[in-house]
Symmetry: C2
Subunit: 119 residues, 2 copies
Amino acid sequence: MEKEAAPCCQEKEIHPERLERVRSLLPPDEELYDLAELFKIFGDSTRVKILYALLEGELCVCDLAGLMEVTQSAVSHQLRVLKNSKLVKFRREGKTIYYSLADGHVESILNQGMEHIEE
Amino acid sequence: MEKEAAPCCQEKEIHPERLERVRSLLPPDEELYDLAELFKIFGDSTRVKILYALLEGELCVCDLAGLMEVTQSAVSHQLRVLKNSKLVKFRREGKTIYYSLADGHVESILNQGMEHIEE
DNA sequence: ACAACAAATGAATAAATGTTCATATGTAGA
DNA sequence: TCTACATATGAACATTTATTCATTTGTTGT
């Protein structure tokens, strides 16, 4: 993803002191990476729609596929992504599997995003 | 992106009443799409790092490039994305351009995400 | 007007991602 | 154990996206 330091401005660093402070306050790269990974999950309309739907309560894969107007397979793939990120959980009841939100963070994040949109 | 309704479960819709309720409560597709677009912006580690850096105050493109260990061009491209989404603003001072966060939403969104990560 | 420099832009490329189709897995009932 | 059905998985494909390189734009100082 990265390659090497940028030559950029030849006065090397324009604001060394400011940069030093930022550098010391910045979360470690790994944390930033994980954070980006999390938001990437929310960055797909199919997944966002799934999450919004689950705000109203648990639904099975079939219900979701009907709602999304997308293949059962597509929904299933996306549910796996959501499951891996611990955003949804599921329970089995006979042949059908019910998915629901894993915790309240999902709702908070969606709401914060919506607030920014609506303005 | 989509194609056609899914045949899926032959009993058509397993929970019609539940589905109907969800359908009526769900935000319009366009809104969900915009929301996903917003989160997509946060879904890249370079951009997240830029945003985090700007939490501490304004920085010029050069500073950011130095911080990211990425080309000036790459940073500039990403700043354009952030600018288009109204997440950052800028002011010019001579040859250099200073970028800063557009509003407080950015911080709220980042924090909500971090909360989910840290557990 | 010209040289120097910060930042922006465009084209090209490599990598990541979402969807579909086909198939496999797991569960329930005859 | 065989069939039916809900869900999961794998491979393939098309699209999106982030980066770099090369160049342009805009500003300052001479």
